[in-house]
Amino acid sequence: MPDDITRNRGADEHLIHASLAGNPSAFSTLVERHWNLVFALALSRISNATEAEDIAQESFLKAYTQLSTLRKPSCFAGWLTRITLRECTNTVRRSTRRKAVCGGPMEPQEVLNAVPACAANPGLTSGQADFVRQTVRRLPKNLRELVLLRFMGGFSAVKIAEQLGKRPGTVRVSLHRAYKLLRKDLNPLLEEIGS
């Protein structure tokens, strides 16, 4: 099979029009279609899976209230990606400010990462899944998003370029750079699982 995830992206436009016409269940179908991508984008910025789910839900609610401002319904996923990443930034900022106001010490990244993630990982142990997430988080921001759009959103390089308003060639080069970095860092795990 050429790709694990194949979707009819044209249906997004239909669902957006139906949502704007006052059909809320059309929007819930949009949520179903993009939930995995939005959750993964949030989890790539936030260590806690429960918090990432909250951010994903909040991002969809924001998208719903701003749906009438979406200029190109065919680029819904790219638009949703930007909303989610902005929501992550705001959450991190609020969290940092709250800690600063309370006077408590900043929580080190290791402590945050120690929070058990409740993501579903039937094949990987909790530690292995955590290792993969940390490896992806170490990627430069722009590469991280491309990898998740490719793997979790099921978009091809050309479709990612369309969604983000970039050139296909640029996306291809960046994706291959990301793969190279990922493979290098994930190699110990891949060997461990493979052996």
Partner: protein
């Protein structure tokens, strides 16, 4: 040694998500005999599967959709905005202000404030059966509520059945109207004649015999009940 340049290009296409079914079959056939290409392809697929697993949500996508829908039902739904809506809103605002000023000048101003929205008259319609998530919005209100078995029904109510849901309204002793999933139905009148508007979806009216005037309007025309059972579908 096999020249693998062509197949390396195909592996790149797999990575980019741009490979066709035919090309993929060709590549798969090649990897049965070429260990180098097989390792490269498997390595990529393996990497993709561990990333996908590590970033998967424990929450089912369908459940997430239902939860968002639940949140939306507690808040106002977005208004569809057509180009120029801002200017139309301003124009409408000016017209409203002029109208109110004239009203006050002529002594017509009501003592009721503009925010006083009252429910339309209650009608003797009951929720007979209910499956899944069905929302109802009263005329003049922005918020949607969940339809429940004990909900009171009012003139102008809009019913929205989500995917996989449905409901039956009891109109009197023996008459019912059954609404299928993904439908929107509005109760327009309920006196000498009973009239519904089906914006989209499907409903089936089962009326007692004899019955009074009964109509179901749709965006495409009006259906009058002559018999006792009929179904209306609007795509």
């Amino acid at each position: 040694m096999t020249d693998c340049r062509k197949y390396k290009d195909l592996i790149e296409k797999v990575m980019d998500g741009d490979i066709s079914d035919a090309e993929f079959s060709e590549l798969k056939a090649h990897t049965t005999t070429c260990s180098s290409c097989r390792e490269e392809l498997d390595g990529f697929n393996y990497m993709r599967s561990v990333v996908t697993e590590a970033f998967s949500s424990s929450k089912d996508a369908e459940e997430a959709g239902e939860q968002v829908l639940h949140h939306l039902s507690l808040h106002s739904l977005p208004q569809s905005r057509v180009p120029g809506w801002r200017w139309k809103s301003i124009a409408a605002g000016i017209l409203l202000a002029v109208g109110l000023a004239l009203g006050f000048a002529l002594g017509w101003a009501s003592s009721a404030g503009p925010g006083d929205v009252t429910l339309a008259a209650q009608v003797p319609v009951k929720v007979m059966d209910l499956t899944g998530t069905v929302l109802v919005r009263h005329a003049g209100f922005d918020t949607w509520q969940f339809l429940r078995a004990d909900s009171t029904i009012h003139l102008g109510d809009t019913f929205h059945s989500t995917g996989g849901s449905g409901f039956v309204l009891g109109l009197d002793k023996e008459s019912t109207i059954e609404v299928n999933q993904n439908s929107m139905l509005i109760l327009k009148s309920y006196d000498e004649q009973r009239q519904f508007f089906l914006a989209h979806g499907e409903c089936t009216a089962d009326l007692e015999s004899p019955h009074g005037p009964f109509f179901i309007e749709t965006p495409h025309g009006r259906v009058e009940a002559l018999g006792t059972e009929f179904t209306v579908t609007v795509d």
